[in-house]
Amino acid sequence: MYPSRFRYEAPRSLGEAIGLLREGGDEAKVLAGGQSLVPLMKLRFASPELIVDINNVGGLDYHRADTDGTLRIGALCRHADLERSDLLKSTQPTMAAAAPLIADPLVRNRGTLVGSLCHADPQGDWASVVTALGGSMIAQGPNGSRAIAMADFVTGPFENTLEPDEIAVEAVIPPAQGTRAGGYLKLERRVGDFATVGVAVALETSGGTVRRAGIALTGVGGSTVAATAAAGALAGKALTAETIEQAADLAAQAANPRTDHRGSAAYKRHMVRTFVVRLLSRNGDRAERAA
């Protein structure tokens, strides 16, 4: 299958890329890893007239932590880079758990975290992870750059709030208040399938108490579901059987799944609850040992 015809440009600087986007307006698309965009173009679900390939723009393939613990992931950092990252393994348990579960190894070698967030697929795993972590996106346009909180970045299925002449250049995860804990669980029919249900839990604990919690759900709504009530129920509390059950119930209530070929709505809601209990119980044990 071939995409429709398009003009292709591969600029070497962000300034040049933004200029091209400005020229192309609504008909221009940024190409990074291409693991969502190219299939969409082949199926003619997307037919952009101008492709701005940013793979030749230098200095975007990083992920690094600032001295205060802020994590920054550049637009060309591939899923595989994150899967192999010692930095994530030692400092970002939720991200380290999710990285090997993105698509399949071949897609991970090319696809990018920032691209996945921009694609805004309700079944995208990274969107839940970054939402749970309270992350944001840095968008760069002709008049400079701005930060957009993940909660405001995605407005619906496959819709984000970037302006036509803006490029998402970096995803940012704020530093933790206390010790980071958490994880990501994904129910999939086979490797590479989209999530039937995914749950991201990000905790920041100190002295056995949860300072901050984030819970977000994949595949159980029209876009990524931020289970804010569930997360709020944990703040300032210790992880006990009671608080865990309460958060799990609230997360299951926040889910808005639909019955489809991957499972019934009731089954998916049940799995949300199960995953929240599993993730929190695991971390509750750890928090107790640390306390």
Partner: protein
Amino acid sequence: MTTVYDDLGDQVASDVPMRRIRFTINGARKAAEVEPRLLLAHLIRQGLGLTGTHMGCDTTNCGACTVLVDGRAIKSCTMLAVQADGHEITTVEGLATASELHPLQEGFKQEHGLQCGFCTPGMMLAAKALLAAKPDPTEEDVRWALSGNLCRCTGYQNIVKSVLWAAAKLRSEQAGDPPEPEPAGEPAQEA
């Protein structure tokens, strides 16, 4: 220097903007003029005539079209040919020499790692990337590395054995053993 042209048959209009790219494939330097929407898999198969790279699902699911780009295993149906500009590609044709099979190919033969053979080139290239990064993989490592490549014949058991066989052979070769046809303990190769 060879120049190859993509063949899109009647779809190509005379006014289609072509782009000139340069790349290396299986060690040979090439230049090509491609329409930007040409997929890498089509450049390889139709443009270069290297039909060992198979097109399976054409929807980023099956991994039959797996090739290495700068050593990384990727799906060539999900990358534009124009993006190969300046990069190094390895296909299954780049594994064997004129007289000798690559240890991975030998492994698939020894362990009966294929039936219909359609997924095999993709399997071998995904395995090659694994063995380059991890010469002594566990069975779990192999299964994980091949989890993006689908096989509808074998049930994967023999594919995993084939890759482990190749890993052992490559390790013994790299340990500086004299060039023996078989690593110790393996059955002699059939004539």
